[in-house]
Amino acid sequence: MRLQQNRILLLVILLLPLGGCSRQEQLHHAQLFSFGTLVDVSLWGASPSQIEHAEQVIHEELRTMHHVWHAWQPSPLTDINRKLQEGTEFTCPPELLPLIVQAKDLYRRSGGLFNPAIGRLVALWGFHGDSPPQGPPPRPEAIRKLLASKPGMDDITLHGSRLLGTNSAVQLDFGAFAKGYAVDRIIDKLMRLGIKNVIVNAGGDLRAIGHHGERPWRIGIRNPRGQGVLASIELGEDESVFTSGDYERFYDYKGTRYHHIIDPRTGYPARGVTSVTVIHDNAAEADAAATALFVAGPEKWPTVARQLGIKYVMLVDDKGKIHMNPAMAERIRFETADRPEVVLSERL
């Protein structure tokens, strides 16, 4: 009798810690590596068939992104670039038209800071390749030459689906917002599959819809200098978090870092900023805004954010100081042991 009781006791002791385990069956987490991009997907409460279809959708979109919008390998985009340079009117392929329309709009609203027409400049800096360049940086004369003609999205006129290039220096490179655009398309397709709660994270930039069961999706924002998590945020029903950083594609040459976010006004990598994080509903706009605000810099970003309709911005400058608007400061939660130095801007 006592022996029996003791055995039950032992069993209870061993099983009790399991009570601390949470319900993980509803959460599905997968990593997909496709066409050079790592996509991290988190689904909540999705059926096995939805999960399978979701993975297919993501692969398809990444293939499109890779083949249709490729900035340097032969693709429909390089075709368009050639025709724009030739200066004769042509019909834009349907898979690229919405991209160009949105790019023109964002170019105008960002005051030209988001400018996908400077592909030539990006290539000059060596960022049109699969591996990072080694340096040295391009000569100032070469940069000046490309800047002289001031290529911009307004140099592409659009009538219906007919395009005409009016500046032979224009070369389209959608690197600054292609990921966001693809993520938007993926989320649209996933929603059509009936999926209600998902995070699509393409190489660190993401859009999330729904929530994690009873609680909102919680995102950890990594420290731009690589030491753990800087801050965390809980997302609403449909929000995107995009960060542009000087650590994504860069090379160091003789002690200076040259990164891929080129300021279209100077022709050189934008200075003064380490990273910009933007929270917005639309992923393509968030992606473009993160780039534009990076270029705008620690002084001018609030103006540009207002023009773009961005409500939440966090900018880490090159001294490690954090600039935010009050609304962002209210939402963000710092995860570091010591509180970082924060500069609040006026309300956006």
Binding site: I13, G20, F33, T243, G245
Partner: protein
Amino acid sequence: MNSTLLTRADRLAIIACVALLPWLYASFWNNATGTGEEVHIVVGGRELPPISLTEEQTLTVQGSLGPSILEIADNRVRFISSPCQGKQCIYSGWHSHAGEFVACLPNRIALQITGRESRFDTFNY
């Protein structure tokens, strides 16, 4: 036999105290820098047996380009050397949170950190 060593009250006390422990870990360990317990290393398509993050060590993993060296210390893991050109894997620094995923894509080495329920669903960088 220890059957006469424990009274009924003793048994209840033991259950209560032992039940308290997981709750304590759940409550107080959320403030830890990371919830990661193990790292799963995937090379090419092959997954290696998981390695605990609690033991300090360095390990060399052979990828398609050559060896990458990982360092494990303080419940975290990082790349300290890799034959890739970009070295993004190294620049991303320490990783300690359950659910984190970091990779050296050119060398086809991926690290997935697992642990108890993570505080974060995913990471932005």
